[in-house]
């Protein structure tokens, strides 16, 4: 094997005219010129690899940054926030000395290419973010969006994604407690695979990604580095090597959950013994990201010897090693006298650990290979000072027409029979049908702290066995609403997740988001993005729930066709005693059903308009955040004081969907009476926000009504839990067995 001379810093300085494949690596001409300007010379191949991957949209947020600033600027005052945006994950104070970290990320594109591994490594990545904060992961959630349920490719993508999430998460021992599954043709070539995780720690155990203290050692531990996920780096490799090596490698990384499980235990043990100064997981951009971020967040520089990185493939070039996205790796900064003990713990867990460098007192990141210096950069220019774009954005020309196409004018059922048929069609439609075929492939029970899991309104985990302190999480996002009005659509996503947390009895504290959009180079998409961010930031400010972190996924589009703008919002809540949680299922016959909130004729973007008319137009439901806050307070008080035995938030599908779910889960029917002033159709199908249905024991009726009256929340008695039929009086009755058959057979039939 012959080699061209190593492209060292010296070599680069001496050969200014060498052409580098910056365009193939995804850099724009002006971006490359900026790299040359920063360095005062052309970059080496290794430096170019680092800049190109760290300045990518995925790592640098270059198109979204100018908008995301609002989350900080508009952040409400909150005592709960311990660590904010910018770290691996945000950290929230939940009381009793506990801190909780949570985050949602996307793994959309890899999951389309290779559903199983794409989804599996999505779980792996988010879990490493959580452990990098010093927390023990306690649960995962998975908001998913697929193409049309009956499209043949959905049958390829969905089962693989679900098996990947299950295969990885189950093997890590993390209960899967929530998420969503949504079908829409707009996601056909761009499924959204978002993955969220929650971790718990004591306040004093919070760890940050920074390398401080000259002389401290940089330890790479976990899996060996291989050629997976290196993408564009192979272009550089082919420049520096001849072709006597494996050329085509998988673009999607391959996960090893067993290795990750060992990594979790080994990392937490090292934390427990206070052996770690700073820590960073290796995700996107691998070592390029970990070294440059650790160094730029710390007080000094860093020197790394790349020859010491344990490899799976000895033919890897230094550029490939820097860019490799091999999974299950972490990087820790450890004081010299603690290195032996750190390595001992790694050995106990059979985890490979290697000192690859040290913190220096300079301010440069220097990387060596075969004795030559191949990287000499200011790490901040790599990690934090990437390009920032003010992309042009403009309200699309079709937006007015879309909003004028009013769903409220669609033909409505004319007879009771027709109304009944549409109810059955709704509860059996893929989006409204039971997802148990999917969720039964996830372990809900492991760790023995799961109080609530899907299909409950939020997932809930006990975090203290003595006091019963717990946390709840819900994720929501309605791309149809956001398409009609991205500003209010994003607010509705937040409102729904906020409401879902409160419905189970927990107090909403903080927000993480995963913003899934099309190409930022399309001004219409950029407008959707800007509007959604502005809407979400405004709503978070008003509800007092700060955004602690999140993720942006752009370029979710095929050709000219972008996905619906899909901001997925996760809300984290806290509950003082999980014994007081409120489930969805009806508990006892004879309990009174109350509808909280106002019901209006709001069908724009509704499930009814989709299922019955295949229609998307008009305006989404009106947003009233003060009402959401009041509703949440009532739901939390009612749960704490034992005034309600079950509760369900009203969202897509409206009231009838909620009642059917509560009835099926509780195996108890309901008699419903259409309230005065509403027609049966609006009563059953409207998607007005800020509403919930609760079941009140008769002994609590007066107290509950008094509380709602005193606080000014509209409350309407709509029926009673009773029998084995869902009976809308004067209209129709459906037996639970008929409803169950309709609700539960759809997904298995589509995916078998």
């Amino acid at each position: 094997m012959s080699r061209t001379p190593l492209d060292t810093v010296e070599h680069a300085a001496a050969t200014p005219d060498v052409e580098l494949p910056w365009a193939e690596l995804g850099l724009k001409k002006d971006e490359y010129e900026r790299v040359v300007e920063i360095l005062g010379r052309r970059p080496t191949g290794a430096e170019l690899a680092m800049y190109s991957v760290m300045w990518s949209e995925h790592c640098s947020y270059k198109s979204s940054k100018v908008h995301l600033r609002q989350f900080g600027e508009k952040a409400p005052e909150s005592d709960a926030m311990l660590v904010g945006i910018g770290e691996n994950a945000g950290v929230v104070d939940v009381g009793q000395g506990y801190a909780v970290t949570f985050k949602v990320e996307s793994h959309n594109h890899p999951s389309y290419v290779e559903p199983y591994q794409g989804a599996a490594t999505g779980v792996g990545g988010i879990v490493r973010d959580i452990i990098a904060m010093g927390a023990r992961p306690v649960a995962v959630v998975d908001p998913l969006r697929f193409g049309a349920a009956d499209h043949p490719d959905t049958k390829r993508v969905l089962p693989g994604v679900v098996a990947g999430i299950g295969g990885y998460g189950n093997c890590l021992g993390l209960p899967n407690i929530g998420g969503e599954v949504v079908f829409d043709a707009c996601y056909q070539g761009n499924p959204l695979v978002n993955a969220g995780a929650i971790g718990v720690m004591r306040h004093e155990d919070i760890h940050l990604a920074k390398a401080s203290g000259a002389g401290n050692k940089v330890i790479l531990y976990g899996a060996r580095t291989g050629g997976d996920g290196i993408g564009g780096a192979s272009i550089l490799a082919s420049e520096t090597f001849d072709d006597a090596k494996p050329s085509k490698r998988p673009a999607v990384q391959v996960g090893d959950p067993f290795q990750e499980k060992l990594l979790i235990e080994c990392t937490l043990e090292a934390f427990q013994e206070k052996l770690v100064v700073g820590i960073q997981d290796l995700g996107a951009a691998g070592l390029s990201c970990a070294t440059s971020e650790l160094a730029s967040n710390g007080s000094g520089g860093m020197r790394v010897t790349l020859d010491d990185v344990p490899l799976r493939d000895s033919t890897l070039s230094p550029e490939e090693i820097l860019m490799s996205e091999s999974q299950e790796r972490m990087c820790a900064v450890v004081e010299p006298e603690k290195v032996d003990r750190f390595l001992e713990i790694c050995e106990k867990w059979d985890v490979i650990a290697t000192v690859i460098g040290e913190v220096t007192d300079g301010d440069r990141l220097e990387i060596y290979w075969h004795g030559g210096k191949i990287v000499d950069v200011d790490p901040r220019t790599v990690a934090h000072e990437g390009p920032v774009y003010e992309r042009p954005y403009a309200r699309p020309s079709w937006q007015d027409e879309l909003q004028a196409d009013d769903a409220n004018k669609l033909p409505r059922p004319a007879t009771s029979e027709e109304l009944k048929d549409q109810v059955l069609k709704l509860v059996g439609s893929p989006n409204q049908a039971s997802k148990s075929w999917i969720t039964s492939q996830y372990d809900h029970f492991v760790q023995g702290n799961t109080v609530l899991a899907q299909p409950e309104d939020s997932g809930m985990i006990r975090i203290d066995e003595e006091t019963g302190l717990g946390v709840a999480i819900a994720t929501d996002g309605n791309g149809r609403y956001a398409k009609l009005d991205p500003y209010h659509g994003a607010q509705l996503a937040l409102a729904e997740a906020y409401r879902n947390v409160a419905t189970t009895g927990a107090k909403p504290l903080a927000v993480s988001d995963c913003l899934n959009f099309g190409s930022p180079e399309d001004p219409a998409v950029m407008w959707q993005f800007a509007e959604a961010v502005r809407g979400l930031a405004d709503a978070c400010q008003q509800l007092g729930t700060p955004v602690t972190g999140g993720n942006v996924s752009l370029y979710n589009q095929t050709g000219e066709a972008a996905i619906h703008p899909t901001p997925v919002v996760a809300v984290l809540g806290v509950i003082d005693d999980v014994a007081r949680r409120t489930p969805v299922a009806f508990q006892e016959e004879g309990q009174l059903l109350y509808l909280l909130g106002d019901t209006r004729e709001e069908f724009g973007g509704s499930a009814w308009s989709q299922v019955v008319h295949d229609h998307l137009g008009g305006l989404p439901p009106k947003v009233d955040l003060e009402r959401e806050r009041l509703l949440a307070e009532i739901l939390i008080s009612a749960s704490r004081d034992g005034m309600i035995d079950s509760a369900h938030d009203l969202s897509d599908g409206g009231l009838i969907q909620a009642v059917v779910e509560s009835a099926l889960l509780g195996q108890k029917g309901a008699r419903l009476i259409v309230p005065d002033g509403l027609d049966a159709f609006t009563f059953l199908f409207s998607e007005s926000a800020g509403r919930a249905v609760v079941a009140v024991p008769r002994s609590e009726e007066v107290r509950f009504n008094d509380m709602c009256g005193a606080r000014g929340l509209p409350v309407t008695r709509i029926g009673v839990v009773d029998g084995d039929v869902v009976d809308v009086q004067g209209e129709f009755a459906l037996t639970l067995s008929e409803l169950r058959e309709t609700h539960e057979s759809t997904i298995p039939a589509l995916l078998k």
């Binding site: 189950n170 060992l262 039964s440 372990d443 702290n449």
Partner: protein
């Protein structure tokens, strides 16, 4: 005095802390055992818990079975030490030939997690005396490789000797032969099952039932009264 019950952690064990909690809830003292331990720290009984030991990339339990801790465990189990294998623990016990049969991948080829109905067929083993024979219970089940199989001779022998300890009711979640959810050895001190009693010991957690607690109270009574 109370009983000391060991819980072995293999690399990839997942339910070790949960099992320790279940032992505590029952009133016994959990003792953490490590897969590299060469002795059992004089515990009175051992639980091999659920998980994916060594990732289960080979046959489930096939590697864990050769861990150092299994040597004293095999020896003492044959001499009467009570051992319970749950899920991956059951798979390890069959790989170690302390229990007959083996587990294949679920017949439907998916991981399955559900609240499973069982019938206690034998309330005479070391781990089931707090149940009554024929009692119907619900405990969580979650596995990928839970299809119990053995040759007809072995199955007939198990049935004849009353060693089918638990059977799935209403729904066979993984294609197990004769709906078998768990079996015991001849002496009744070694029991293995696929469902997870340790996830059903507190009313608020998991499925909301405590149907799994008698596993741990049974053994505690036996040990304390011994």
């Amino acid at each position: 005095m109370t009983a000391r019950i060991g819980v072995v952690t293999f690399p990839g064990s997942l339910d070790d802390r949960d099992t320790q909690r279940a032992i505590r809830v029952a009133g016994a003292e959990p003792v953490a055992l490590w897969h590299k331990d060469k002795d059992l720290k004089q515990v009175d009984a051992v639980v091999l818990c659920g998980g994916f030991s060594y990732g289960d990339y080979l046959r489930a339990g096939a590697i864990a079975r050769f861990s150092p801790v299994m040597e004293p465990l095999l020896e003492q189990a044959k001499a009467g030490l009570p051992v319970l294998g749950i899920c991956n623990g059951f798979q390890i016990l069959t790989e170690a030939h302390l229990l007959p049969g083996t587990m294949l991948r679920n017949d439907h080829l998916h991981f399955i997690c559900r609240d499973q109905k069982l019938r206690v067929e034998n309330a005479g083993t070391a781990w089931t005396t707090d149940y009554s024979a024929g009692q119907e219970i619900h405990i969580p089940l979650k596995n990928n490789d839970g299809q119990y199989v053995a040759d007809a001779y072995t199955l007939d022998k198990l049935e004849a000797e009353g060693r089918v300890a638990f059977r799935y009711l209403d729904f066979n979640p993984n294609g197990s032969q004769r709906d078998i959810a768990g079996v015991s050895n001849e002496a009744g001190n070694v029991v293995g099952l696929m469902p997870h009693p340790e996830h059903a010991v507190e009313p608020l957690i998991g499925t909301g039932r405590t149907d799994g607690l008698p596993f741990f109270t049974s053994i505690l009574k036996k040990l304390v009264n011994a």
